[in-house]
């Protein structure tokens, strides 16, 4: 096969991947929502974490018994935060009046869990 043809075939195979951002064919809207929220957080007095060495030390600390004596002092927090969100409504959904709000897990964002 001619190398140019092969290149074009290869390129066309890549195109769908390039052209499929989140929500590509779905009835969705991408939002940046300013959210003002208040909460009673906790003042943990954890070790400073500004390097890999600090972080490993923190993980060690938080994973062992010595962590049991940490502070539980209430720390009120308040602020306005920008939250990235995606709202999808099915075009012809009979149950579109039911909105699911999904919250992902640790270490990922809304694409993952």
């Amino acid at each position: 096969m001619h190398s140019v043809t092969r290149f074009l075939i290869g390129l066309s195979a890549l195109l769908p991947a390039l052209a499929t951002p989140t929500g590509h064919t779905k009835n969705c809207v991408q939002l940046q929502i300013p959210v003002t929220a208040s909460a009673n957080n906790t003042r943990y007095n954890s070790v400073k974490v500004e390097s890999n060495i600090d972080l490993v030390d923190f993980v060690w600390d938080t994973s062992t018994w010595s962590h049991a004596n940490r502070s539980t002092e209430v720390l009120p927090v308040h602020g306005t935060y920008s939250i990235s969100a995606q709202l999808c409504i099915p075009a012809n959904g009979k149950k579109s009046h039911v909105l699911q709000i999904a919250t992902h897990g640790l270490g990922f964002d809304k694409r993952y869990v």
Binding site: T20, T22, G23, K26, N27, C28, V29, Q30, L31, Q32, V35, T36, A37, S38, A39, N40, N41, T42, Y44, S46, V49, E50, S51, N52, L55, F58, V59, W60, T62, S63, R70, V77, Y81, S82, S84, A85, Q86, L87, C88, I89, P90, G93, K94, H97, V98, L99, Q100, I101, A102, T103, H104, G105, L106, G107, F108, D109, K110, R111, Y112, V113
Partner: protein, 346 residues
């Protein structure tokens, strides 16, 4: 990622376990028809809001010690829920990309169902405890509140300091932000060999995000959810390698039920799903509450495996539809009914 049966052991007086790995995403670019929970929800006619929790993705990278903790994550989920319920999500937001059709502007849901995974389940659980009246029903996946919860902690993730680990991707993360260091550290806590595609592991690494010292220090909000009166489903979907973890006597079915029941005292309907079997496009639960139920579950599972290998496609389809119907029956309550296949793990 398909079906992955690991083991099934009977223990006298103990629950029977068929631990399965099920690996799903809210909305990945990788094989969305296979992995996207958003696609699945939409195809069933439900609307769905997903968001980047504080400190991840395109949301604010707030202070990693004092701000990005479970308490504030719950408060943000509460505010998002209020905005959604009042039909003000779009009016109060900056819309990125192309404008949606007009139905979005007037959209005001009649029911809101909260779905969480892992720390997202802890966030959702906190919402039920503190603002339970804002939720009509909830599903908590990858969630096992019990006194063994310290067993899988920060030390299981293989974290590095985010900014130092990858300045290109995480240069905007301040002090106190952690990220899983490698493909292997992601595999170690999320995935069992033989039950996942390498592409999915690579994709997970590609889109990985940070967690904070504040989140890793946070304790569950264990307050009773007196105002939550909807149905609740709890799915524990730990990977198989945590078999030994969930087998501990302190996390028996009764201990779990007691712990969570104390939190959701007013729920109308609570269901436990300890095991998930995934087949393409569908997940099937295997209930493991008593030896008798376990035997029934095992029989069904075997039957299903036999069917998968022997029966024509149309028969499989009937079987799946039938099962989905049953599944929906189980979570019906409080006037809502939603399908609960395609769960996520961790």
């Amino acid at each position: 990622m398909g079906l992955a049966l690991t083991r099934g052991t009977f223990r006298t007086g103990k629950v029977y376990r068929v631990l399965m790995v099920c690996y799903r995403y809210w909305d990945p670019e990788l094989k969305p028809e296979e992995y996207s929970y958003v696609d699945a929800a939409l195809s069933k006619g439900y609307s769905i809001l997903t968001y980047d929790r504080l400190g991840t993705g395109k949301s604010t990278k707030a202070d990693g010690y004092s701000e990005v903790q479970l308490g504030l994550q719950v408060a943000i989920l509460k505010e998002l829920t209020v905005l959604a319920r009042e039909g003000k999500l779009l009016a109060s937001s900056k819309i990125l990309g192309k404008s949606p059709d007009k139905s979005f502007n007037s959209y005001k849901p009649k029911k809101v169902v909260h779905v969480g995974h892992s720390l997202g389940s802890a966030t959702t659980s906190g919402l039920l405890s503190l603002h339970g009246n804002l939720s009509d029903g909830a599903i908590l996946t990858g969630f096992l509140p019990n006194n063994q919860s310290g067993k899988v902690g920060a030390n299981a993730f293989g974290f590095e300091f985010a900014r130092q680990h990858d300045p290109r991707r995480f240069g905007d993360r301040p002090a106190g932000y952690a990220v899983q260091a490698s493909l292997s550290s992601i595999q170690q806590i999320f995935l069992k060999k033989g039950s996942f595609e390498v592409e999915a592991l690579e994709y997970a690494e590609k889109i990985k995000q940070t967690g904070t010292v504040g989140e890793l220090s946070s304790a569950l909000i264990g307050k009773p959810a007196a105002e939550f009166k909807g149905p609740l489903q709890v799915s524990h979907l730990h990977p198989m390698r945590y078999g030994s973890w969930v087998d501990k006597s302190t996390s028996t079915s009764s201990a779990r039920t007691t712990t969570l029941s104390a939190m959701v005292i007013a729920t109308t309907h609570m269901t436990w799903r300890h095991s998930i079997v995934s087949i393409p496009q569908r997940l099937i639960s295997v209930y493991t509450c008593s030896p008798v139920q376990a035997m029934v579950s095992l029989f069904r599972l075997m039957l299903r495996r036999v069917m998968r290998s022997c029966l024509p496609t149309w028969a499989l389809k009937v079987s799946r539809e039938l099962h989905e119907f049953k599944l929906q029956e189980r979570v019906k309550g409080g006037g809502i009914c939603f399908s609960v296949y395609r769960f996520s793990m961790f």
